[in-house]
């Protein structure tokens, strides 16, 4: 199609990833690039920020309570206990981003497993599995998440697990649809006639062909998991203080809304930036991995 841009290379040479059309399509989506840049900056800030700041996230200074942003070294001000908000924000970011990332890994693994089995086996097992997916989708996920979080002793690990337990269904649906359409193709028949075991066919033959949609769904799941963590922690059932997370920093913010609006604004902006960045990246990946969108 556009061979002028991509000169014919030696067919034996491995394709170079920086020349791939997928990358070119992704880079053309400005918002997606902005998303990658923002996430990189946020990860760097959360990784190195706390050690660059003069304050510890747990250091209480009662003389400096409710300091507005840009007082002295408090770039984002202080909270009702005089703790530095910037230090808390970066430490909270570590937790929120980690919860988001690991919840994505778990829910993608679970969703892929269920989706691939349901899609490849089909029949009764397949439809039972997919009805379970539908049943999970019938609960408003926040209701289910809160019920689980309230009855389980919350720790960052458990919060990650229950977020994963309430967000694997989308991936399962996508993988199921993808695998069911691939199942009858010739290469699967070939693999089966060579005597491959079902598990080998699922993992080695089918999974690589469905990887595009899985990556897109996984990226969007990170966004969703960060949001869900913020919701549960805001409502008091997620990450427990003194451990800061973006959600629980907002937990007490409403009562000081008039006196100290920065308590609400700073973490909220951080959540919105992180979540929208992952959404932008997911959207960019969707277009980039879909070869049909070339030339559009």
């Amino acid at each position: 199609m556009s061979s002028a841009i991509y000169p014919a290379t030696d067919l034996g040479a491995p394709p170079r990833w920086w020349r791939s059309r997928t990358l070119a399509r992704f880079m053309r989506n400005r918002l997606a690039v902005v998303g990658v840049v923002m996430i990189t900056l946020m990860v760097l800030a959360c990784a190195f920020g706390p050690s660059l700041l003069p304050y510890d996230e747990l250091f209480i200074d009662l003389r400096a309570r409710f300091a507005p942003p840009l007082t002295g070294y408090h770039i984002f001000g202080t909270d009702p206990l005089g703790r530095d908000i910037a230090a808390r924000l970066f430490n909270a970011g570590r937790i929120s981003l980690m919860v988001g990332f690991f919840a994505m890994l778990m829910s993608t693994a679970l969703g892929t497993l269920i989706g691939i089995i349901a899609g490849y086996r089909g029949g009764l097992l397949g439809s039972v599995l997919m009805r379970v997916v539908d049943a999970f989708l019938s609960f408003p996920s926040i209701f289910l998440l809160l019920a689980l979080a309230a009855f389980i002793k919350p720790s960052p690990f458990m919060i990650t697990v229950i977020i994963a337990l309430t967000s694997w269904m989308e991936v399962a649906r996508i993988v199921n649809a993808e695998i069911s359409s691939l199942r009858e193709r010739d290469f699967v028949l070939a693999a089966r006639s060579l005597g491959y075991r079902s598990s080998t066919i699922m993992i080695k033959e089918l999974l690589p062909n469905a990887i595009g949609p899985i990556i897109v769904a996984a990226t969007l799941t990170v966004a969703r998991a960060i949001l869900l963590e913020a919701y549960v922690s805001f409502l008091g059932y997620g990450i427990q203080p003194p451990l800061p997370s973006w959600g629980n920093m907002l937990n007490g913010a409403q009562q000081y809304l008039d006196k100290a609006p920065w308590l609400a604004i700073v973490p909220g902006v951080a959540i919105t930036l992180a979540v929208s960045s992952f959404n932008f990246i997911g959207d960019g990946l969707r277009d980039a991995l879909d070869a049909r969108s070339d030339g559009n």
Binding site: A135, L137, P140, L146, L227, A264, I271, T272, F280
Partner: protein, 316 residues
């Protein structure tokens, strides 16, 4: 048609059964379980705990407990609240109106605004309007609802003092206009995410319709662009939106829970959080089931409406 209806109804019932199993499992397998509220009472002994468990039938095998529970559920006995001994169904009923009022208003707002934005960005594809609304929609999907609510309260209630900061009506003055004023902020906040969802889907649905042959025919026979749009494009593009309305129900219900918390709205969401705080297990369970039933009923109605509206849908 009857065959389709029965089939679809059967599917909903199977889903309902699965939903009830998940809900039951969630709250029983969690450590603490239904008895955790008593464990906190001072002076509670092991024997007393066992006695309560026996009285409540909690020492029986789980499958038996489940069957017993579902049988009572079907008879309308949803248990009694641990807090004030009121029947669960009655408590839910007394909070239902507030939530339905909030959800209904917000759906009307999001559907009308979202549809308008979607049609406009589809007809003016690649324009500034199309580009900016699609970016705005993606950002709107990323804003935590509760935080957006707080920002709205800060701006419109605390700074501009245009609107009340919370609750459903002023005590002593519960007129319709008073309700309406209290409704504006929470329903708009709740609508934000759905406006984004609706405008995205309406845009792609309109784009699907707009390039079809019957639209060209309509233009060719000399209809004005406005008539083509209103009578041919929009009508057909709306059909997938009916299904979407059904699918969006869980999101709106979940959003209502958070919105109600921020705006101290006396609905099901606040009830759910309060009951969680008291470990009021029957009410939590009842609300989980009730919301799932609401969602299943919503998607059932949506599917039936689609078959009535769209004669092309094959019934099988």
């Amino acid at each position: 048609m009857l065959h389709y209806l029965l089939n679809r109804l059967g599917q909903s019932l199977i889903l309902l059964l699965l939903v009830s199993m998940i809900g039951f499992a969630v709250l029983n397998l969690a450590p603490g379980g239904p008895l955790s509220q008593f464990a906190l009472t001072p002076g509670m002994t092991r024997e007393a705990m066992d006695r309560i468990a026996h009285q409540m039938g909690l020492d029986r095998p789980l499958p038996i407990q489940y069957l017993d529970w579902i049988w009572r559920l079907l008879q309308g006995d949803w248990g009694k609240s641990y807090r004030d001994q009121q029947p669960v169904l009655q408590i839910i009923g007394s909070h239902l109106f507030a939530t339905l009022l909030l959800m209904g208003t917000s759906m009307v707002i999001s559907i009308s605004l979202g549809t308008w934005i979607g049609i406009r960005s589809a007809t003016k594809r690649h324009s500034l309007f199309d580009y900016s609304t699609s970016v705005a929609a993606m950002v709107a999907l990323s804003i935590p609802t509760f935080w957006f609510g707080m920002v709205a309260i800060y701006v419109f209630a605390l700074k501009l003092k245009w609107l009340p900061a919370g609750s459903m009506y002023t005590i002593g003055n519960a007129s319709i206009s008073d309700y309406a004023i209290h409704l504006i902020m929470p329903s708009l906040v709740l609508a934000l995410v759905d406006i984004a969802v609706w405008s995205r889907y309406m845009r792609s649905s309109t784009l699907d319709v707009i390039n079809q042959d019957f639209i060209r025919t309509a233009r060719a026979k000399g209809l004005t662009e406005r008539t083509v749009l209103m009578k041919h494009v929009v009508r057909n593009a709306m059909i997938p939106m009916i299904t979407l309305a059904g699918l969006q129900l869980p999101t709106i219900l979940g959003g209502a829970l958070v919105t109600e918390t921020v705006f101290t709205w006396p609905g099901m969401g606040r009830l759910f959080l309060d009951s969680l705080g008291y470990h009021d297990y029957p009410v939590v369970m009842g609300l989980l089931m009730f919301s799932a039933i609401l969602v299943l009923a919503g998607s059932l109605v949506a599917d039936i409406v689609v078959t009535i509206v769209d004669p092309r849908v094959r019934l099988g």
